[in-house]
Structures are given as structure tokens and as C-alpha cells.
Amino acid sequence: MNSDLRREIAQTAEKFAARHLAPAAAAIDHAAPAFPAEIFRHGVDAGFDRFVLPESAGGAGGELADLSGLIQTLARTCAGCAMVFGAQAATLHALCAGGDADGPAARLLAASLPVGVVFPEPLDADDFDAPAAAEADGAWRLTGWAGLVANAAPDGFVVVFAKGADGRPLALLLDAVDLGAQLGPPEPTLGLRAMPLREVTFADFAASPSALLATGRPATDLGRALLRDWSLVVAAAAAGAAAQACRRTYEYAAERYQGGKQIIDHSHLRSLLGRMTADAAAADGAALRAAARPDDLTAALAAKMTASDAAVRVCTDAVQLLGGYGYMRDFGVEKIMRDAAALSLLPVSNARAELLIAALEKDKRA
């Protein structure tokens, strides 16, 4: 890993966050849910979306470890905004993995538009729950509830999974404009409000044949690749959120007095702060470890679980240590706590990730 490059990436990310995220993060969190189109455009201009794509595909050729560092740095300012870029880069990376220069990732790159993913469950088998797809009149007709899409913009794209009449899984790339009423409005959520969730429900929707990304096992593999790459960026964002919560807590603990001394000098609170620091380090380590294993879904899921569980603990303790101030919007720590909890649910909840990890490990050993 090139440490100079990582430092440069971190500096770029810090400057970007200070210029574009810091002034907008609180307002985005508080406003009616909507995709942050302007911030997304700035990120595209900075090349965040194609950061880990090969140069042959128009990308910067960065490694996943570098992407992890980038997202972690951005997440210190706003985990939701960081995830907008993380999700975009992860999706493009997974779509590009097939190596088709004229494939869907190339189309997406050319359009520079956001792309969201509806993750089917459970992904430990090919027979995941998904809307029904029937071939008719040269199109795929989709019916049923697909799930929630994260990172969908009104003018972007959505990756969805469906099941053919024979039970065969399908992966499709759909234009959000075409989806119309099938794509629900952005919904108010717990956290990561820069990346609103929308419900996707098909009512005999006709998808053109060109929307098809993969069928059969390759479709399941694509689902798993998306899950892997999203998990990597979730782990990175969680590590960033935990680091930021730690920083804010140490600042507060050094300036607040209780019982005639700084609260950082109370041994119980030192114990709490020490555990928070260790948890934040564990999140950072988990994110880095997984990024160094780009093809390992288990490692990515384990990292996402470890990092987001740690972030939830750290951020909840940060609110606790700040007391009433931590619970108020002004201080921003409550937002980090909500974001951390939302990260524990993306792309699947940590509780469900546990099941998936064990199933994957079982398959490996079979």
C-alpha cells in the first residue's frame, strides 16, 4: 500500500469534506429526505465515483484500501454523504468486475448519475426473495415488492434483482425515470439521511432486455459482489463515524468539569473513553483488513459487522458522555449516533449478516 498516496487521498478528502460536506451536513440531515444532487456532482467532479475502477474503464485505478481511507475520512464529517460516494464507487466496482468495457458500468460512468441497489435477501442461496419476472413481448415484466433502494436519485439508476418463472435469479439495471411510480418517494429515516431510502414495488413493470445485467448464478454472484463492496464502504464509514465521535468526546471531556475536576480525570470516564478508543481502533482495523481482501465476502461482512457494531457502541457512549448536550441536535453527536445505527443495517442488518457469514463459511468447508 502506498502511504504517500493514502496521505494525499486523505488530504483531498479532508479538503472536500470541509468545503462541500461540513456546511451542508446538518441541513441535509434535518431537511425533507432528498438525494443530495449537488454534493454528488461535486464528488463526481473530484472523481470519487470512479475511484476504484481500472484506468481502462475510465477510473483512477485506486485500490479498495484507498477507497476505504477516502470514505473513512469523508465520514468523519458526514457518514451519510460519505456513503453516497461509497455506495456509488462500490456499485460501479462490483458492476465492473465482469470486465465488460461496454457493459453497464461504462454506461453509468458515461452518464455520471447515481445508482442505487435493492439488496435481495437471503443471499446465502440462489432462491432469494425477489419480484417475479416474466418474459413477454421482448421485455421483462416485473411484479411484486423488491425492497428498499438506498442511494437512488430521481434521475439515476437502480439495480434490482428478480426471479424468472423457472426460479432463475435475474439482475437488472433500471432507469429511475422509467420506473416512475414503481419507485416510492424518499422516506424519512433514522440516519444516513443524505442517502434516502425508497421503496421499489413493481406493478407489471416492463423492463427492456438491455436492462438485464445477469441471469442465473452470475446474477447471484453480482448480488454478492455488490454486498461485498457495499459492506467494505459501510465498514469504512463506520470507522470514520467512530473516530469522529471519539474526537468530539475527548474535546468535551477535557473542557467539562464535574466534582471539581475535568471529567476526563474521573477514572470511570477514562475507562469509558479508553474503551471507545479501542472500539474505534477495532473498527479502523476491521475496515482495513477487509479492504486488503477484495474478493472475500466473508471478510467484508465481518468488517461491516465489527466496524458498525463498534461505531454504535462508540457513538452511543459519546452521546452518554456528553449527557444532555449529546442528545441535542446542536452538538452533532446525536447525528453520528443515528448514522452509526443506520450503518449497522446496511446493506443488511448485522444480525442477518451473522447468518450469512456462517452460511458462506459452511459452503467453503463443504
Binding site: H30, F119, E121, P122, A125, D127, F128, D129, W145, G147, L148, A150, E187, P188, T189, L190, G191, L192, L197, E199, Y257, Q258, G259, G260, S267, H268, L269, L272, V312, T316, V319, Q320, G323, G324, G326, Y327, M328, R329, D330, E334, M337, R338, A341, A342, S344, L345, L346, P347, V348, S349, N350, A351, R352, E354, L355
Partner: protein, 483 residues
């Protein structure tokens, strides 16, 4: 997609939730029946009026922190929750902390934000009750009960926390070095209050606020008193209304005092003794806060059980999947144990704490057998506030209240508060995990409950402070030189 707004959630009976109350029913059937009745009232109000509006209120408060839904509080008037702690002699229900806690659990299962309005009111009322000044009973508490009967809620609040002193003002050890801003300087006929209080639940909607302040902030341990301030008093104003993460339906506000004159008669309890009263109040209120937290946990539990019954993954309902069953069982275990903890605290307080004084012959003669107009008369008020009466009250206290019991109440109340609030957070988080990404949606309520739950670990003394309080009351004499 499942949402819960129109779902009837199955509930269990009081005796199933707390088997000890079935035992109680064998010995004190009327009292047990009263507790059942309060639970039934709270369920009816919660199901009929609170749950259907909970999300809407949360959203409105998020858009404007000053929004307060008077309508939902007015709907509670026939149920009597605001005045349930006030003595029957002044129009209340004369209930104690156990009934109050049972009501709070039910209301919180519907919406802990709305419930907190009643909880914070109870905290304000408790301070007045424990002050045992019948003048305040016959004025402020009587107005509370009368207002409720008219359908015009009169709300109480307690103002303790300061901008630079949160836990400091709730612990005698820390109070002596607390950086206090609020002070009540003695003046002719009363006191002049200056300073600020922060994060005061019900602060912007309360008619009566029990403000805890020292008369000499360099000696808060010796000079802390309670001052009953009324909305509209000159020099008393509401500052900022905080934008909170959760429990938004109950406003938390800054209260500002600028040369606010408080007449002598509005001192709550004995001047200089507020520290003791605060301890008594918190000993009585932390049990119900445990109940608030248990109700919050139950809200998450009931909703996620319903979700698990409806949601299928891989062709099977979540509730049919073993990992979900084990998680739900663990949630049920935590909720059950935390409930027993708050019942321990509340019953200990009710039967061995200050409420015992309300049952002495002297108190009952004054409250139940003496007409209100006699009690309110100036000569009797003066007599009741005399040094002689104070000494008699102290003697009554010494005769009826065991110091060991008070210590145990402190232990149990902190234990209940910690157990309940940690359970609320753990259960709310596990509910998110079971429901998955959908849990993030506001309309599923689980995210709101997660936001609400966090406050229970912070207010009424942080859990750190309560653990410390538990320690010092569990190991008296130890830990004098802590680090």
C-alpha cells in the same frame, strides 16, 4: 411493507407481566384492583389517542421544536394521569409511585415522548408532595386536579439541571464543587431568583415549576432550596427549546430567571433542605423512570414481534426462524427483569419511604378530616410552617422512616433506572437488527423508539451517576477517597 399504525398489538395482563402483583392481590385485593384499573386506563388512552398520533407529533416537533400537541394531552384529562399523585383531599387520586410507574410503562409502550409529559409532570408534582407543605397542596396541586377535571391541563415541571452542572446537582458529593449559575438571594418577603436552568422537560408548557437553587451558590450543600415559580411570573421566561434526538413530544427547554421575585410562601419544603428533598424525589422518581424505559423497550418489542409475524424471508416468517425466536426471548427476559427492578424500587418507596408519612394519623387528620378552607387559612398555614411543626414533622419522620430503608430505596431506584434504560437501548437496537433495513424507516416506528430510548440513559441522573449512587448506598462508608 408492514407498518404498525393500524395494527392492534396484543398485550398481556398485569399479573402476567408482574406475578408478584397477583400475590399482592391475595393480600390487598383492592389495591391490586386499583393498579389493574390504572393499567387499563393507560392502555385505553395509549391505544386510542397516543399511538395513532405518535409519529405525526414526532415529525411536527422535528420541524418545529416549539410545537406542543395540547390536543393529545387534553384527551388524557378524563383518565386523570396528571393529578394521580395529588392527594384525594385536593382532588387527586392519591396514588403513589407504583401505580404511576405502571401507567408510565403503558404510555411509553404507545409513545415515550408523549408519556414523558406525564412523567416530567409527576417529577414536578413529587417535589411539591414531598415538601409536605399543605399550602402548596391546596393551591398548586388543587389547581392541577381542578384543571384536569375541567379538561384544561395544568402541567408541572422540576428545574434542577444547569448549563454547567448536570450530574453535579443531583449528587451531594459533587454539589459542593458544582459550577452553579442559578441563585436565589433572600430579600424582603422572599427571594430574588437569577440564573438559568437547561434541558427542563415540560419547561415551556408548565404552569408550575419547582426550581432548585441555592441562596448562596458558594454553599449549595447548605443553602439549596426549592422555589415554586409560576408561568407568567415577572422575571421568569422560557429560553431556547431544544431540538432533541428523540422524545420530541415533550419539550426540553431553557428557563431564564432575571430578578424573578419568589415570595417566601413559595419556598417548597424547608429553606436550605432542597438537597435532601431532591434525593427523596429522585429516590421516588427513578423507579418510574425505569418504568418509562421498560415501556419504551416494550414498544419496540411489541412492534418487532408484530413485524416478525408478518415478514417473510426465504419463504419463512421471521418469527418462525430460530435466531429471531432466541432474540425475542432475550428481549422478553430483559424487559421482565427490568420491570421487576422498577416494581422493587417503587414498592419500596411507597411502603417504606416518605409516602408512609402521608398515612400517619396526623397527616390524615390534616388532609382528610380538615376542610380545605380551614387548611388554607392564614393562621393554620403559619402554624404548619412554624419551627414547632417542623420539629414535630422531623420527629414523625424519625419515628416512621427507617434510615436503612431510605438507603435501600436509593439503591433500588438507581438499579431500576439503570436496568430499565439499558434494557430500552438493548431491546430497541435488537429490534432494529431483526427488522433489518426496513427498521430505518420512520413509519415503522422502531427508529423513533431507538431515538427515544437513548434519553432514558441520560436524564434523571446519567447511568454513570446512578451507578455511583448505587455503589455508595450499597457500600455505605466506602469510596470516600475515590478516583
Amino acid at each position: 411493507m408492514t407498518d404498525f399504525l393500524h395494527v392492534e398489538i396484543g398485550k398481556r395482563s398485569l399479573f402476567e407481566m408482574a406475578p408478584r402483583l397477583k400475590v399482592l392481590a391475595a393480600h390487598a385485593p383492592e389495591y391490586a384492583a386499583e393498579l389493574e384499573d390504572w393499567q387499563a386506563r393507560a392502555r385505553e388512552y395509549g391505544d386510542k389517542y397516543v399511538r395513532p398520533k405518535a409519529l405525526e407529533i414526532d415529525r411536527k416537533c422535528a420541524a418545529d421544536a416549539r410545537y406542543f400537541d395540547w390536543d393529545v394531552i387534553k384527551k388524557a384529562a378524563p383518565f386523570g394521569f396528571l393529578s394521580m399523585l395529588a392527594p384525594k383531599a385536593v382532588g387527586g387520586a392519591g396514588q403513589m409511585s407504583t401505580a404511576f410507574a405502571i401507567v408510565m410503562e403503558e404510555l411509553c409502550a404507545a409513545c415515550s415522548g408523549v408519556a414523558n409529559v406525564f412523567g416530567a409532570n409527576g417529577l414536578g408534582v413529587s417535589g411539591i408532595l414531598l415538601g409536605m407543605d399543605f399550602y402548596h397542596y391546596d393551591h398548586a396541586l388543587a389547581e392541577l386536579a381542578a384543571g384536569e377535571k375541567r379538561g384544561e391541563p395544568v402541567i408541572f415541571a422540576a428545574a434542577i439541571t444547569e448549563p454547567l452542572a448536570g450530574s453535579d446537582v443531583e449528587d451531594p458529593k459533587y454539589l459542593k464543587t458544582a459550577k452553579l449559575m442559578t441563585e436565589a438571594k433572600p430579600t424582603k418577603g422572599g427571594y430574588v431568583l437569577n440564573g438559568r436552568k437547561v434541558f427542563i422537560s415540560n419547561g415551556s408548557i408548565a404552569k408550575f415549576v419547582n426550581v432548585i437553587a441555592p441562596t448562596d451558590k458558594r454553599r449549595p450543600l447548605e443553602t439549596q432550596s426549592g422555589f415554586l415559580v409560576t408561568a407568567g411570573d415577572r422575571g421568569f421566561s422560557v429560553g431556547r427549546v431544544e431540538e432533541k434526538m428523540g422524545m420530541k413530544a415533550c419539550p426540553a427547554t431553557e428557563l431564564v430567571f432575571e430578578d424573578c421575585f419568589v415570595p417566601e410562601r413559595n419556598v417548597v419544603g424547608r429553606a436550605g433542605e432542597a438537597l435532601r428533598y431532591v434525593e427523596y424525589v429522585l429516590g421516588g422518581s427513578r423507579g418510574p423512570v425505569g418504568a418509562i424505559a421498560v415501556g419504551t423497550a416494550r414498544g419496540a418489542f411489541e412492534r418487532v414481534v408484530d413485524f416478525a409475524k408478518r415478514k417473510k424471508i426465504g419463504g419463512r416468517r421471521l418469527i418462525d426462524q430460530q435466531w429471531v425466536q432466541i432474540k425475542l426471548a432475550e428481549m422478553a427476559r430483559q424487559i421482565h427483569l427490568a420491570r421487576q427492578a422498577y416494581l422493587d424500587a417503587c414498592m419500596a418507596f411507597d411502603f417504606f419511604g416518605i409516602p408512609k408519612l402521608m398515612k400517619t394519623l396526623t397527616t390524615r387528620l390534616l388532609l382528610d378530616a380538615t376542610p380545605s378552607f380551614v387548611r388554607k387559612s392564614a393562621p393554620l398555614t403559619a402554624m404548619l410552617r412554624s419551627d414547632f411543626t417542623y420539629r414535630q414533622t422531623q420527629a414523625l419522620f424519625a419515628k416512621n422512616i427507617d434510615a436503612e430503608d431510605l438507603r435501600r430505596i436509593q439503591q433500588l431506584s438507581s438499579l431500576a433506572k439503570i436496568s430499565g434504560s439499558d434494557t430500552a437501548m438493548a431491546v430497541a437496537y435488537d429490534a432494529l437488527q431483526i427488522a433489518g433495513l426496513e427498521a430505518s424507516l420512520h413509519r415503522l416506528e422502531l427508529e423513533k423508539i431507538y431515538r427515544d430510548a437513548k434519553l432514558t440513559q441520560i436524564y434523571e441522573g446519567t447511568n454513570q451517576l446512578n451507578r455511583h449512587n448505587l455503589f455508595v448506598n450499597y457500600f455505605p462508608g466506602e469510596g470516600e477517597n475515590e478516583f
